[in-house]
Symmetry: C5
Subunit: 139 residues, 5 copies
Amino acid sequence: MGSVAEEVLRRRLPGYRIVRHTVPGIKDLPGAAKRILSMGCEGVITLGWVGRREADKLSYLAASVGLIMVEVLTGKIVIDVTVHEDEAEAPEELAAIAVDRARKHAENLAALIREGPEALVKHAGMGLRQGYPDAGPIK
Amino acid sequence: MGSVAEEVLRRRLPGYRIVRHTVPGIKDLPGAAKRILSMGCEGVITLGWVGRREADKLSYLAASVGLIMVEVLTGKIVIDVTVHEDEAEAPEELAAIAVDRARKHAENLAALIREGPEALVKHAGMGLRQGYPDAGPIK
Amino acid sequence: MGSVAEEVLRRRLPGYRIVRHTVPGIKDLPGAAKRILSMGCEGVITLGWVGRREADKLSYLAASVGLIMVEVLTGKIVIDVTVHEDEAEAPEELAAIAVDRARKHAENLAALIREGPEALVKHAGMGLRQGYPDAGPIK
Amino acid sequence: MGSVAEEVLRRRLPGYRIVRHTVPGIKDLPGAAKRILSMGCEGVITLGWVGRREADKLSYLAASVGLIMVEVLTGKIVIDVTVHEDEAEAPEELAAIAVDRARKHAENLAALIREGPEALVKHAGMGLRQGYPDAGPIK
Amino acid sequence: MGSVAEEVLRRRLPGYRIVRHTVPGIKDLPGAAKRILSMGCEGVITLGWVGRREADKLSYLAASVGLIMVEVLTGKIVIDVTVHEDEAEAPEELAAIAVDRARKHAENLAALIREGPEALVKHAGMGLRQGYPDAGPIK
């Protein structure tokens, strides 16, 4: 996921410095995101893998609350992308979801940074999905 | 949902500037709400769609905590409207809930902004529901 | 519930100004409590109705965390009263719980404001219940 | 539980002023802890009773997050002791758990205040339990 | 777990002062981590044991949110290591998980402190597991 997102950001944001960190587990994402934003970055995309156990789900919740806290406290964009192991049975299917989701959300981050907060209005209610085929607009 | 809410706000708050943003997912709502309020807006209505999976419910919880945090930290009004996919089976029923709820809560936001915090006292305990027919007062 | 609590507070706190707000949903309680305390109030009692769906329970959790956050950040008293629809089957029973609980917690708020934080020590461990008959002391 | 903890603290911390407050419900613990610490106290032990319903569990979670927030924001010690009604069937057994746990954690608080943060290192991994017989060290 | 982590940190971080605290329960970890960081430490590894009961899981969640809050507020590294009793049936298996996880995460902490935040990028997506054999890279 990291390489996919990094490639999109480098392509879509020429002239920007792209910084990449790796953390031991998903609960370490908010702290790392905060440190990256404190370095002066304009936005962060975090990529996390969430296991099937109850503890994994609770860790996901804690990490999500933390990432939102970072976004609220810094005022900067943090896009929090996760793949949950129970989204699919086959490993290759999970990998495909991960790649698709990382790519589409990296595109979202690049658009928000390049074009500002109204960049995605044209996509609202179109049933766009990350990791899956688009669901289409609400009829 | 966005167009419905926007139309109500434009009609009920003539003279106000209405700003509309779109975010990649519901967990991005608190950060965006914070940025919108920092631009000087008096209030925000957020519209979110919540899937059926456990991860969606946890994301809903994280987003809700974040939006409350934004409201507490800024002192401004944030009305957090969501439709949960498990509220109904038929897509058209879900769409009707979404439209009704967006409309009624946009009316609430407009009333709170126009008339101040006591605007809704007359509705208390009347069993008003957003997205469904009103339940009626507690007897 | 609002009228019951208001009546108790007016009777027990003569000379105080009692302010009453109504919010669209329970997740709006923390923001409103914060705004009321910022107006100079010494304490707040919030009254919320919690549905049976999972989303309602998660909203209850988010609202509770938010109200605690308000209390911690302001240093003032916030008593958070809720009635959960799954506490009883019959509507009249639910209404009785709501009235009893609102009344007893309004008494608690009035006592804490009048007599200070040690006002309730005499009640500790006595099995007092709000919304139900008292359970009696632990033997 | 309150009397047991109070007796331990008075015996172990001679020369200290011991303050005791009572709150309407467990969700009121964080706010009260914050107010007590703002009075200048060095530490707080909170004693809470948690019912069997889902709402009680969610209230426990909200209260726990709040107490941790108080500890993080103040830098002072807050020991959060609870007894859950589903820990035992017989009321006398529950009462025994409550007394044992309140006593042992009051001893912990007194040791941390008297001897500083390294006071409990000798107990690490020894399987000490509060409310139950000790489990013994991990072999 | 404490001794294992301490030994790794002493070996990998010669010249550093290593401080070790013990807390009564996992909910006390965030407050203690905050106090240790306020003493001037560069990072913290916390080691927690999580029981099988629902209350234990909720305590795990509260502690996780608190530790993330500490990391976000201080900007320093907090690695939160836990072993859940339901990860294995046999006590010796649980003990082996605990030792392996404490050791590997202490190595992570030492690397992040010695080499800075990009220390772990080479491990990303390699399926490294703490407490279990590595899962291998995503194919």
